[in-house]
Symmetry: C2
């Protein structure tokens, strides 16, 4: 069965004066409204969310949302795959339609984080790491610093090439009305921003964000009853890598990206050369390089050069993070993977406005932790 | 595609000196070992768990477990549906096999709770309720008290009939080596135990528990390559009810039980009269009555009489909670729904030892919150 997406929405990302239930209901309600689908057509509701209990002391948000959107008695479930919860939700939604368990599945991803402040919110995120590694100072940012240093050394890449990722994604975010930061930055500003985890500086990191995004899934047969404006999920897969990062051979390769994309390419029938645009998980600038390489878009060690040559710019051969990426759009954990595919949907349908590129096939890569689990989703225009 | 279960395991339930990762690995490893399935045959790992972050400050447990069981690069995801996370995990595992996304899915459910003490653990569970209702004193136990009072009044049922549920399930638990409480209790002890939420007393409630359980899923074609000792998932479905309980018309009917079982019966081709044994979610004794009725086993208002008449005893027409139920076996949130089907599997295969009954079709009903979301699973011998 071909699984299709017939609706996509997202809230404004940023510092939001709303609790998680309100954020989820905002994106979920808009998704149904714009798709013209009545609540009683939904039989499965999935909520991608990592930590509403830890961030807000509120659990069971999927049941609350079923109520708030008028979906009762639809089945509801929460999907957690840390910072890749959104991609995992898409994977679960695909399975729910393809298995015949559901005729119409609404996926809403969201997270409310900013009220806790950056240090405390970062500590919640760090609860995914092995407690022994954590005690020894291994957090996601510190590991990103290690990986970046190793990459720059191994492939003789200039530090400026990382700043280039941030500059590009900020420039794209200017045209995204939902983005947290709609401002351009310069290479100089990025290079002079405060040091966080040498060699990575503040502008190499995505922010803490509140926000939500939603997608609506059904079979192609059902899709056609509603609209001609839909896209197909051509292939999707996920894969883990070692939980303790000290067991990884090479910090500049992400096994979960390699393996999940291998499976997704195989299922879709597409290869990396057929992908027209991509949303990559640029939680840290270095991750955009690693994914460009591990997804097969460029050879190992060449992403920095391809980036400097403009390949990933909006007018390049493979526009990457036209949405602004996590870097400028923001990163509300459970929403991010859903929002990646929101962007791809609009690119494929030609409704991305000023950020629009010419694309028939798009790819989204959503990374949990430091690649502890990764999903790759390939979407095609019909 | 027919989805089968070729492996089932559970840890001892109770107060365990082990953290969540160890509990999950214990059941998961035993499941693979007893089924004779190598770790590299697993391509999806699902972890049913409500709140490892809230209980232990550890998130990302599915990725840790993939590592601990040697399953990397298998895809991993956490499934949360509050106290019905186990049933939701079975639902997700069914979808992962039936959709073709996975050839072999390992589901491990677990929770570590006792180290937090009953009041604090209960507070984590109460985070599923609406904060306004919670402030007004509506917790799961208090709502159970309201529902019990209404039930006894509406159907002219004696208070002793509720105690009978506890006495039966404790008697069953004596023969379950994994149960938390392996001791018989009397009607008198139950009736004289401390008052909790009038008319419900201490022995009407399940305990706080640590533990884990696992199931292994694949297609029937794959199952036959491993063993003749497998069972089939004949039908499974889930459904929500209102999140705020003040919106429910009748507190003695659980809409999620009615609707999820209606769908599961329809998918399986079985009706309630063809079910030979059942594991019901007796978090509170009153819930066993409500489920007996809402699942269609007896008419509305007759469960108390059927229980007094011995229908649900091990030698009755419909043995219920031969495992001891949540009441005596214990209730580690994420594990409970998985452990329900562990019991059914052993009943259908004739390997339940002293608790064995004659059964070809079994049903498990797993209740999230106070019926906020419910899954019904029907399993058949091949």
């Amino acid at each position: 069965m071909t699984v299709c997406i017939i609706g996509a929405s997202m809230t404004t990302f940023g510092r939001r004066d709303a609790w998680i239930r309100e954020l989820l209901a905002e994106a979920g309600g808009e998704c149904l409204d714009t798709a013209g689908v009545a609540p009683d057509a939904i039989d499965h509701l999935l909520v991608s969310n990592m930590a509403s209990g830890e961030f807000e002391g509120q659990t069971g948000v999927m049941n609350a949302l079923a109520h708030d959107l008028g979906l009762v008695p639809a089945y509801a479930q929460r999907v957690d795959q840390t910072s890749a919860s959104g991609g995992a939700g898409i994977h679960a939604a695909w399975q729910s339609i393809a298995s015949g368990a559901s005729d119409m599945t609404l996926l809403v991803g969201g997270e409310k984080m900013t009220h806790r402040g950056t240090p405390e919110a970062t500590d919640v995120i760090a609860s995914i790491t092995h407690p022994v590694e954590y005690k020894h100072g291994l957090t996601l940012p510190s590991f990103a610093g290690l990986a970046a240093r190793q990459y720059l050394h191994a492939y003789d890449a200039p530090r400026e090439s990382l700043a280039r990722v941030a500059v590009k994604n900020h420039a794209n975010g200017v045209d995204n009305p939902h983005a947290q930061f709609r401002k351009e930055i310069t290479i100089e500003e990025a290079m002079e921003s405060p040091m966080v985890a040498d060699p990575l500086r503040l502008y190499d990191f995505c922010p803490i964000t509140d926000g939500s995004a939603a997608l609506l899934f059904c079979s192609e047969e059902v899709a056609k009853q509603y609209t001609d404006e839909y896209v197909r999920v051509a292939g999707i897969a996920g894969a883990t890598d070692t939980h303790v990062v000290h067991e990884r051979g090479d910090p500049t390769t992400m096994g979960g990206v390699v393996e999940s994309s291998r499976r997704a390419y195989e299922r879709s029938g597409y290869g990396p050369e057929e992908v027209d645009c991509a949303e990559l998980h640029d939680m840290f600038t270095i991750l955009e390089f690693l994914q460009l390489e591990d997804l097969g878009f460029v050879e190992k060690g060449r992403a920095w050069e391809a980036t400097e040559d403009g390949m990933t710019e909006r007018d390049g051969d493979l526009p990457v993070n036209t949405s602004g990426g996590l870097k400028s759009k923001g990163h509300p954990l459970g929403a991010s993977g859903v929002a990646q595919v929101y962007e791809i949907v609009h690119q494929l349908l030609g409704t991305a406005g000023a950020r629009g590129v010419d694309a028939d096939v798009g790819l989204a890569c959503n990374v949990g932790g430091f690649g502890n689990c990764v999903t790759t989703t390939i979407v095609e225009a019909p």
